[in-house]
């Protein structure tokens, strides 16, 4: 990473991965492009900031996270919920008396699943499948690691509203992981 052309090339190579996370977070291809371009520009303008850091990607993702929050602030009024965002899985999961329709499955040893790269891909696919606003809020909480107060402030939503959306997102994610990983999916040897 000693010379500028090297850096430019390395940045180009990482661009698709940055774009993937930007899209997952923003759910808008144009804003995602902006956030990533902004990130790469910042990196090119301050290559000395990278000096000594262990991994280029770690540094870039750190910048990207800030740029994504900038984009969210800029477009906060346009982040509308879709009808799908309003759907609760509760009805499907529970009987009228509040008992499980079908008992949750034992997912076994977490480490066994989490060690596998394939699990990460399934997880990403499941996050991608969340409805727009649920996905954005889930990403803000779990990937950007924002505090709930901050999310509410940035998006001007109530804590109750945020909590309802995160609740729905997590139940959906659980459903998706159950379906695409823990049930049936061939598990690679440990």
């Amino acid at each position: 990473m000693s010379t500028a052309p090297d850096l430019a090339q390395a940045l180009q190579a990482l661009r698709p991965q940055l774009l993937k996370y930007a899209r997952l977070q923003l759910r808008n291809p144009a804003w995602a492009e902006d956030a990533v371009s902004d990130t790469l520009l910042a990196a090119l303008e301050k290559p000395q900031a990278f000096a000594g850091q262990s991994q280029l990607k770690t540094w870039l993702v750190g910048i990207l996270k800030h740029k994504l929050v900038d984009q969210i602030r800029r477009h906060c009024r346009e982040l509308a919920s879709t009808p799908e965002d309003g759907i609760d899985l509760d009805e499907e999961l529970f009987q009228a008396d509040g008992h499980w329709r079908e008992s949750p499955q034992d997912w076994g040893d977490p480490e066994a699943a989490l060690r596998q790269l394939e699990f990460m891909r399934v997880l990403e696919a499941c996050v991608e499948q969340l409805p727009g606003q649920q996905g954005r809020l889930f990403m803000m909480r779990e990937w950007l690691e924002l505090e709930t107060e901050e999310i509410c402030k940035v998006l001007a939503i109530s804590p109750t509203n945020l909590w309802v959306m995160l609740h729905r997102a997590r139940l959906r994610l659980r459903d998706c992981l159950q379906l695409n990983w823990f049930a049936g999916a061939p598990k690679p040897a440990r």
């Binding site: 993702v61 999961l93 509040g98 008992h99 008992s103 945020l162 909590w163 609740h167 139940l171």
Partner: protein, 65 residues
């Protein structure tokens, strides 16, 4: 004790809520008592714990080559 009785549906709500905010003591106690008596909900709790770990692992994964 009736005041502390929660359905599975209510307990899943509280367990997920606890991911984002501290629960009041009474709710924590109610969840505890429910989990001691329920076969299904402890599995849900384990699933939520796995998802929390998965998120952490995913953050690391997204930053590393």
């Amino acid at each position: 004790m009736m005041l502390l009785r929660r359905t599975c549906k209510e307990v899943t709500h509280l367990v997920l809520q606890a991911e984002d905010q501290a629960l009041p003591w009474r709710e924590r106690l109610a969840v505890r008592l429910h989990l001691m008596a329920c076969q299904a909900c402890p599995r849900f709790v384990a699933q939520v714990r796995l998802m929390r770990k998965a998120s952490q692992r995913w953050r690391d994964y997204s930053e590393s080559d």
